[in-house]
């Protein structure tokens, strides 16, 4: 089971937190901080697995993470998950985000955390991996967005576009951060 999924930036600011186990808000924040602390001090060229033991209930759990430009994607899982599988899942997640947001950057996550949640919900359900096929995920997301648009076309879309445009101009995070072609897992594992 996946116990928690966290996304935070290089400064530890949370961009998404999804806990599949009940923690109080304070504990959640503490977990985010600790995880950031553990993950951020690791070199870039070490492995993507981290056995903290202190975090989220005991030594059975481990952190599997990936670092993309300004963002850390961290999955906290127990021993029943395949390490390689989760590593691949993170990749699929990021690639899906990239597809849904068209060249995803940190700002997309900042301003549309609800959408990120919706995408995640198509991949992981209640801590269990639901779907790993990116095309299937994107199809379902598109269908739901279409449904949403048909319900709320008056006020949703124009505003969204406007803001997207505006924050790109204003913010230093406006550059496209996850634009570099993501190495596939096969690639990184040297087929």
């Amino acid at each position: 089971m996946i116990k928690a999924i966290l996304i935070f930036n290089n400064h530890g600011k949370p961009r998404l937190s999804k806990f599949y186990q009940r923690y109080s808000e304070d504990t959640q924040q503490q977990i985010i901080r600790e995880t950031f602390h553990l993950v951020s001090k690791r070199d870039e060229n070490v492995c993507n697995f981290l056995e903290g033991g202190l975090l989220i209930g005991g030594s059975d759990n481990k952190l599997i993470y990936r670092h993309y430009a300004t963002l850390y994607f961290v999955f906290c899982v127990d021993s029943s998950e395949s390490e390689l599988g989760i590593l691949d899942l993170i990749q699929v997640f990021v690639e899906t985000l990239d597809k849904c947001f068209e060249n995803v950057c940190e700002l997309d996550l900042i301003f549309h955390v609800d959408k990120v949640h919706n995408i995640l919900a198509e991949m992981v359900m209640g801590g269990m991996v639901l779907e790993t096929n990116m095309n299937e995920i994107v199809t379902q997301i598109d269908a739901q967005n279409k449904l949403e648009k048909s319900e709320t076309f008056i006020f949703q879309s124009p505003r969204q576009d406007r803001y997207h445009h505006r924050y790109l101009q204003q913010s230093p995070e406006g550059r496209i951060l996850i634009a570099d072609p993501l190495q596939s897992i096969e690639h990184s594992l040297k087929t």
Binding site: Q28, R42, V46, S82, I110, E148
Partner: protein
């Protein structure tokens, strides 16, 4: 232009959306908290508005704030409101928020049951999808029980998107409601298509997988293959031929992974190795060199993995070597976390399986002593525990241990003077105790005693000083005895004087325990001194204080003491204190604290936090000047042996042993030549051959006499998956069927006054959780009245549904169901009147208003009713006589495949609608699908069809029915006039699917809308009732029925139940009753019972309706 205006107004309506909020927070970096609290205030305003879009927007923002650490549980009710929005956009927002912040403790969570059920059966697959996703995050045991059947049904949904989610969420349901596993298991198995694929699949897979491992060059494929092979071999280890070749291959390939420069591969290789290690330790042990190499890796994750592997790889033969390597790493390690990890691993490795691999305990004690030189470790207590354990349990080692501990005590300043090394001074606790307890082995007891009496000792933590004080007396006693026996009177008096001189420093200790012990002992020794002056020999008596030997007790010994017959440990000795008392006064705390204090002194294992706190709490510590020792000089405690020398000694010893053995073997061979083949045991010495250095008797831990053997205590009681440890092969019992949505079977007599006792009765119910809820709910005076109302209503429904064993009761006619109904009746009677709120959430609003009116009335009336004798407040529940079982579900139609029963409910929300609930029960052994229900509309009564469909289109039933399963669907009908009963003809068409194929079937039925079904049970108060009768607007009619044999109470119950009335007042055999139609007709009845007859006078706004109603009543009563 027009569009602009629309946009403008919408912009105003949405003060801020999520993006605005995020932007605002980013622009207020200085005063973020203040800005957010402003936003929360705005959100609270938005939540008060009726517009669902505004509410959804507010909830969306709250979800974001939750991520930033803000508690949003206060908005739980609003979240539920948004969840029940009809638009998917809002629903999704609501479910997301719920999934982020709902949990088992959320008090309003039971309000979601019906909403979720509705969404699960929604024709829109994405409504179902978000409901499933949300539910997977916050499912509670109650939700799991109530919705298990609905989710089961979804496992056969037409859309794979839903089936996928439904199958997955079942796991969560099982965890929360394990009873559902067995009934659902056949279905799950079906989903796998193969009835029992596991064992055969595994066997078949091994070979192709092995081939793949051989041939592939893709590392990831290799890893997954190896992983699968390991998993298969582990699961099949019993009854499978030896697969050592496959394992060997896996290990070889894993070695390649580990040797790779890619860190991820290295890690995965080590991980897979540790899986193999469990079943095939020998295969992995041959790669010890590689694993040890990994300890040098720069990556901590890799090092920890390697450590983990080493733990499983040690043997008698290689323990010393491995530990030696680890000790080198301890010295090299930077950063305390990893070093502490190393330390615990060394101790784990050595102490595992009762010190199985240790052949030389002198070596181990040396290792422990060497570990005490670690700076700043947090694990001093671990080392101390090991020292104590070994010294107590290995008798032969005591002399050596005592000498080592004496040296430690002598060098205590090295350990204790550095504040950074506070954790390590725990070992002094062990050292002091060992020296004291086994002081007969001490050579220089005087010196040790003096070391313990040094002024520096008073800077140690209190619990250690206390042990010092206690054990210096033991030392003193043995010195005294020694001197007396040797006749050295002066020396004996000197040592007494030393004690008297030095003990006062402990008497002044701020630590109570130290102070108390020291002052007792000081007085004792002063007394001894007096005796010594008189030349009385005292040593024997003093030593008698500490006579006897301590034996170790097994950790599970306490649990295994059998409970003597007739002793009930759970029974209260005294009357239990009431809840409020224990909260206010906390009488237990005295005991509690005392216990803690005791454990502090007895157990060397104390958790780190507590230690830290203790150091802070110890007064005076911070004033003591700390002398920093020069750490640039490598620490070497004089006189301490280096553990390395033992490694060398051990090698020599083993070599000797081997030579001797070889000699013997050669002899044997000479004798038995011809029988034996030559074998290579000369070189690969098996570990059984290694004899311990000297005879070591590990004292076994004591167990109580007649201890019960049990394995149960090895299981973790907190394991959340334990609940799923269920036998799946046992056939299903009827009682195990999944609960299906409950329907009211009995309606009751309802007194307006039952409102108040209701709450009390509820709280008496055994379900603690609900009780708690209820009380909480009542206590929350702040909560809005309307909110509270809904909670209560829903809760009652919940309670009803949560009755045990209700599962089988769906088909109300069945025998079991009747039995159960009887049991539940009493409770159900109270709940009547709220039933109508059953399925549609929106209904609550109207009812809320009504209710609050009712409540006001009841308050006014309360004086009045209290004075009345209880008999006149006729409430059905007051009668002793049990009511017969009743069901409102009538048979609609039935054939060999399917049985339909139905019930009609008026719709409070809409004055021209009724809801028909139909239970479909699959009676066949086939699968029923594509069910479609259609009726022939009349001018007056029409079935509500989706927009755009014609009157000839049927409505699809939103589920399929596997064999033996029943489920309920609802259909809404619109009516113009309700004064007459109606009958509609209809047809159910469905496809029967079984092994032989599919057939199309039809079942015709007649749907009977009685006038009673337009009535809604509405409570009325006698004063309001009297006014109604006086108004003179009502038409009147009467009936009389003869031959009535049932009791008056049963008769009233029947009228209430089948005709939707409530009792206003009852006096003897006369009762007034009231009901209201969906279109607002008042119906008043006066029911009088004669000898064998009943007469009913009715008054109603509409004479046709009244006469029809009375006719229906006559029919009901004539059956009695």
């Amino acid at each position: 232009m027009a569009l602009k205006m629309v946009k403008g107004s919408i912009d105003r309506m949405f003060d801020k959306n999520l993006q605005d909020l995020v932007r605002g927070i980013r622009n207020h970096k200085e005063d973020e908290a203040k800005y957010i609290s402003q936003c929360i205030d705005e959100i609270k305003q938005e939540l008060k508005q009726d517009n669902i879009a505004v509410k959804a927007n507010a909830v969306c923002k709250l979800t974001y704030l939750q991520m930033l650490g803000y508690d949003i549980s206060w908005a739980a009710f609003n979240i539920i409101e948004v969840m029940s929005a009809s638009k998917f956009t809002f629903k999704r927002i609501g479910y997301l928020a719920a999934s982020q912040c709902f949990h088992e403790g959320t008090d309003v969570i039971m309000l979601t049951t019906n909403q979720i059920r509705k969404d699960l059966s929604s024709p829109n697959q994405y409504d179902t999808g978000v409901a499933l996703t949300g539910l997977s995050c916050f499912v509670t045991p109650d939700l799991a029980r109530d919705l298990a059947n609905d989710i089961m049904t979804l496992m056969s949904h037409t859309k794979p998107y839903i089936r996928k989610k439904a199958v997955l969420i079942m796991y969560k349901v099982f965890l929360k409601y394990p009873e559902s596993l067995r009934p659902a298991f056949p279905r799950l198995k079906e989903k796998l298509e193969d009835p029992d694929p596991e064992p055969r699949l595994g066997k078949k897979l091994i070979e192709p997988l092995t081939n793949l491992i051989h041939s592939t060059s893709a590392m990831s494929l290799l890893y997954e293959c190896v992983n699968t092979v390991i998993a298969v071999l582990i699961s099949l280890s019993s009854g499978m031929p030896n697969h050592s070749a496959s394992i060997q291959l896996c290990v070889q390939k894993l070695r390649i992974l580990i040797e790779d420069s890619d860190q991820n591969l290295k890690y995965l290789g080590l991980l897979a190795m540790s899986k193999i290690l469990k079943t095939h330790p020998k295969s992995v042990q041959s790669h010890k060199d590689l694993i040890l190499q990994c300890l040098d890796d720069k990556d901590e994750s890799i090092r920890l993995r390697a450590l983990d592997l080493l733990y499983g790889m040690v043997s008698k033969k290689n323990l010393m070597e491995i530990v030696k390597k680890l000790m080198i790493h301890v010295d090299k390690a930077e950063g305390t976390t990893y070093r502490d990890e190393l330390l615990t691993k060394i101790i784990d490795i050595c102490s595992q399986s009762n010190y199985q691999y240790i052949t030389n305990f002198e070596w181990y004690i040396s290792i422990l002593v060497e570990l005490t030189r670690l700076e700043g470790t947090r694990h001093g207590h671990l080392i101390a525990a090991q020292m104590l354990d070994v010294a107590i349990r290995v008798k032969a080692i005591r002399r050596f241990a005592v000498s080592q501990m004496a040296t430690l005590l002598d060098n205590a300043h090295l350990l204790a003077s550095n504040t950074q090394r506070n954790g390590i001074c725990e070992v002094l606790y062990a050292a002091a105790w060992i020296c004291g307890e086994f002081s007969e082995h001490l050579e220089e007891a005087n010196q040790t005693l003096e070391a313990m009496l040094r002024p520096k000792v008073t800077t140690l933590p209190g619990h250690i000083q206390a042990v010092y004080v206690q054990n210096m007396v033991k030392l003193y006693a043995s010195i005294l005895q020694q001197k007396e026996q040797a006749g050295e009177k002066e020396a004996a008096q000197e040592i007494t004087q030393l004690m008297i001189d030095r003990l006062p420093q402990f008497v002044q200790s701020a630590d109570l325990e130290v102070q108390e012990r020291a002052s007792c002992i000081l007085q004792l020794i002063k007394y001894i001194q007096k005796l010594q002056v008189k030349e009385v020999p005292v040593a024997e008596e003093v030593i008698a204080l500490f006579a006897g030997e301590l034996n170790p007790v097994a950790p599970k010994a306490q649990k295994k003491v059998p409970v003597p017959e007739g002793l009930d440990l759970d029974a209260w000795i005294n009357e239990p204190p009431s809840d409020s008392e224990s909260e206010d006064e906390k009488p237990k705390t005295i005991f509690h604290e005392e216990e803690q204090r005791h454990s502090r002194h007895r157990q060397p294992e104390i958790d780190e936090e507590e230690l830290a706190r203790r150091y802070q709490d110890t007064p005076g510590v911070e004033h003591i000047p700390v002398v920093q020792i020069d750490l640039s000089v490598p620490l070497k405690v004089p006189g301490m042996p280096m553990s390395d020398q033992y490694v060398k000694l051990e090698e020599e010893r083993r070599h000797k042993q081997k030579l001797e053995k070889d000699k013997k073997k050669k002899k044997q061979k000479k004798e038995k030549r011809g029988k034996h083949h030559r074998h290579n045991s000369l070189h690969t010495e098996s570990e059984e051959d290694i004899a311990p250095a000297h005879h070591v008797d590990i004292i076994t831990e004591e167990m109580p006499e007649n201890a019960l053997p049990s394995d149960e205590d090895d299981k973790d009681p907190n394991d959340p998956y334990k609940a799923l440890d269920i036998d799946l092969d046992k056939p299903l019992a009827d009682s195990e069927k999944l609960p299906v949505q409950r329907h009211r079977n009995v309606e009751d007599l309802k007194s307006p006054d039952s409102e108040v006792p209701l709450a009390e009765k509820k709280s008496k119910k055994p379900k603690k959780k609900e009780k708690k809820h209820k009380e909480k709910e009542r206590d929350k005076g702040k909560k809005k009245e309307k909110e509270k109302k809904v909670v209560e209503e829903e809760e009652e429904e919940e309670t009803k549904k949560s009755e045990p064993g209700v599962g089988a009761a769906v088909v109300a006619e069945s025998q079991e169901a009747k039995k159960e109904q009887r049991e539940e009746q009493e409770e159900e009677e109270e709940d009547e009147g709220k039933k109508s709120s059953k399925h549609k959430k929106k209904k609550h609003k109207k009812e809320k208003e009504e209710k609050s009116k009712d409540k006001k009335k009841s308050k006014k009336k309360s004086h009045h009713s209290e004075e009345e004798p209880p008999e006149s407040v006729q409430n059905g529940t007051l009668e002793d006589e049990p009511l017969p079982p009743m069901s409102s579900y009538r048979l609609l139609a039935e054939n060999t495949y399917i049985k339909m029963t139905y019930d009609i409910q008026g719709n409070l929300q809409n004055d021209s609608q009724v809801t028909v609930s139909v239970i479909f029960e699959n009676k066949s052994t086939s699968f029923l699908k594509s069910m479609e229900l259609n009726v022939l509309d009349s001018l007056n009564t029409k079935m509500l069809r989706p927009e755009g469909s014609s009157v000839h289109d049927g409505i699809p039933v939103p589920f399929q029915l596997p064999p033996g399963i029943s489920n309920e669907a609802q259909f809404v009908f619109t009516l113009q006039s309700i004064v007459m009963a109606q009958k509609l003809k209809g047809t159910l068409s469905f496809i029967v699917k079984n092994d032989e194929g599919s057939t199309h079937e039809k079942l015709d039925f007649k749907l009977h809308f009685s006038c009673a079904s337009y009535l809604i049970t509405t409570p009325c108060y006698s004063d309001a009732f009297a006014k109604l009768l006086e108004s003179g607007d009502l038409h009147m009619s009467s009936i009389k029925v003869d031959g009535i044999s049932i009791s008056f109470q049963h008769l009233l119950a029947k009228i209430c139940f089948h005709h939707h009335f409530s009792v206003v007042e009852r006096v003897d055999s006369c009762a007034s009753m009231y009901s209201r139609s969906i279109q607002g007709h008042h119906v008043c009845l006066l029911v009088k019972k004669g000898e064998n007859s009943v007469s009913i006078d009715g008054k109603c706004n509409d004479s046709t309706l009244l006469s029809n109603l009375l006719d229906e009543m006559k029919e009901t009563l004539s059956k009695c």
